[in-house]
């Protein structure tokens, strides 16, 4: 019959009178029970055609997601296998083919995986040098993110501190204009960027050493050389350096990903953008445009300079940082 649990309870003599009620499992509440009774009452009538049963089922599962989950849970605790199958299929349909954001919204799931975990490769290294490079970059990224996390917490504390100051201080803060505020931020970013730059320098040097074969790694090399070369020319524009690195890395990561990372495509797409928060993003965009304009103005000469500079730097870097792999 339909419901083994209730059947077995009846056999043990329960349910025959008010004094010996069949105690329902905790996951079954009254509204669920009435739904389940509706379901059973419909389906136990023998004369119905399959078509009728199917259309009843379709209509039956039209309810909001929360209730559907509760119903699944209740049906499972009552061991009503046909109903569990029906509701599970409905829930599966809600998951199939949707983006992670859509699924999180449907079920109100917390987006509590850290960026790091989302980026963490759910796979093992193979012999493909590009995959090795990618994993190395991921490792760097993870470190960066940890740094950023730490610094963010530090910053948050500092900023909160700032907000507690007197009105005068605030006024002077505001009246100091954009220069000051930017200055404040720049210094903080400079701190982060310097650290990041060092890591990336190491990364690029190790790339240069070990992965000579693939064009992808060569591209990364050149870009890094380029930006590091530029850096030497523009000592105070460390933000742009950092920005360019980020953009380049982002782009490169998306290039290097091919279909072989199919299971990861979905993991990474939305999330690479998420790492920079919106306010910062705008700022970065503005600065990138600015920088691009400057670049394009005298590009050919710059190119020569950079390449010649870069070559020299590369070899020297190898000597110093060779052991940082």
């Amino acid at each position: 019959m339909f419901c083994p649990m209730i059947c077995s309870e009846i056999h043990t003599g329960m349910g025959s009178s008010k004094n010996y009620p069949i105690s329902l499992p905790p996951r079954v509440n009254p509204s669920m029970l009435s739904l389940i009774l509706d379901y059973c009452r419909f389906h136990q009538v023998p004369g119905r055609s399959n078509k009728e049963r199917k259309s009843f089922d379709e209509k039956f599962i039209r309810m909001d997601t929360k209730r559907l989950c509760e119903l699944t849970s209740a049906a499972d605790s009552l061991q009503l296998k046909p109903l569990v199958d029906l509701t599970s299929r409905a829930l599966a349909r809600m998951i199939e083919g949707k983006t992670p954001e859509e699924i999180r919204e449907t079920f109100h799931l917390p987006d509590d995986l850290t960026e790091e975990e989302k980026l963490e490769p759910l796979k093992n290294t193979t012999d493909d040098p590009r995959i090795r490079l990618l994993n190395r970059l991921y490792a760097r990224k993870r470190k960066e993110l940890k740094e950023r996390e730490r610094l963010k917490n530090v910053d948050v504390e500092e900023e909160e501190h700032v907000d507690d100051r007197s009105v005068d201080d605030l006024l002077s803060f505001i009246n100091g204009g954009n220069g000051d505020s930017k200055g404040v931020r720049t210094s903080k970013n400079k701190k982060k960027n310097r650290r990041r730059k060092d890591q990336l320098k190491n990364a690029s040097s190790s790339c240069a050493v070990s992965s000579n074969n693939t064009s992808a790694s060569n591209n990364v090399e050149i870009h890094k050389e380029e930006s590091n070369g530029l850096d030497s020319m523009h000592q105070n524009v460390t933000i742009h350096d950092h920005v360019l690195h980020n953009m380049v890395e982002t782009l490169k990561l998306q290039d290097v990903e091919d279909d072989s990372f199919a299971p990861e495509d979905e993991f990474d797409e939305g999330d690479i953008d998420d790492e920079i928060d919106p306010a910062m993003q705008e700022k970065i965009d503005r600065e990138v445009e600015d920088f691009a304009r400057r670049l394009n103005s005298d590009w050919p000469e710059r190119m020569q300079e950079i390449l010649s500079l870069g070559k020299g730097r590369r070899y020297s870097r190898l000597d110093h940082d060779g052991e940082d792999i």
Binding site: C69, P100, I103, F107, H108, P110, D259, S260
Partner: protein, 426 residues
Amino acid sequence: MDNVLGRDFISDLPQSIIETILTKLPIRDAVRTSILSSKWRYKWATLTQVEFDDRCVTLSNDKVLVENNLVKFITQFLFLHNGPVHKFMLTTAYLQSSPEIDQWLLFLSRKDIRELVLELGEQEWFRAPSCLFSCRKLTRLELVRCELDPPLTFKGFLCLKYLSLQQVLIAPDAIESLISSCPLLESLTLSYFDSLALTIHAPNLKYLCLEGEFKDICLENTTLLVAISVAMYMTDDIAEHFEQSSSCNFDKFLGGVPCLERLIGHIYFTKYLSIGNDLGKLPITYCHLKIVELYQVSFEDMKEILVVLRLIVNSPNLQELHISVSNNNGSSNTTAAAEAPDLDFWEKECPSGCMFKQLKTVKMTDMFGIPHEMDFIKFLLGNSPVLEIMSVAPSVYVTEGRLNMLIELARFRRASAKAEIIFIQD
């Protein structure tokens, strides 16, 4: 970003329900749930039923790329999987014979695999590694397009209940011993074998499905068989073999199946059964036989008609009968006159007072209207007291004889007051 605690209503459902839901998703979507939230990170990794097919990877025109991607996906999945794998299904047109498949099978043989379904591509047939034969707990094995070579030390799949081999290269004695060494075998399907002569020992066998070129089938010790479906293809040397055969095929095949409930025979099955000396008068009664479907029956061959008669006369509880007439009768209209002397065969062969007490539905299709066919219908109509439907459909090749057929049908006496004769005009 949704960080409202307590509103998440799916993640805390019991793992068995989550598994049920994830199993109803294509496997790629199931793996993707790992980035939904921290609780979902590894819910997919304990799935015990996994099904891979070509939808797991993005398809493109580059076959090698698709094949490589599929291999990578499956390998990565298995490597990250945690816990037993009870069911593994792989259906692909791209992947053929690849060393990775051997590794997967080795991996699965250590994970208590119970159901294994492999349907691979068409080019180079996969040769099953010996680790396949060490999957002790297999209950279900389905293989399409591969080579099987059981090692000498192989003692059988002791838990196997369902075996299906389609287009599998295996030595004839190997397959016989494979079948007989699986004591719990309940369902056997063999498709597209070449010239197989087979003796089947399977004491627990209930469902048998054979399709291909079989030279000889002998059912020994299959007393629990409930349903049989056979499609016998004919090639020239099998036809020769048929001519030369001296043993009675009917007895060899249907001699030891007293519990039979359903019999379906396609293509040359009835002809196959008709071969043999003395269409043995072995007194077998098929008490449980309820449904008989025979296709491509040639009503010009007396022996085939005798086979049909013998079958239905010995099935007192027969409820449904479908007979489809063979196309080879197309040229029969001219020889119909020559058959006239045999027309009293019906009185001779049919025991008098033979009643089909449970027969309710009869369907005759692809009919040509030759005398033997009409007499058969007459015989059925006259001896089926509870008949409800007699459906007659002429063959598409019959263009002019339809009206005559209908006139004859209308004249036949009916033993059942409820009988309807339905003539299908398509």
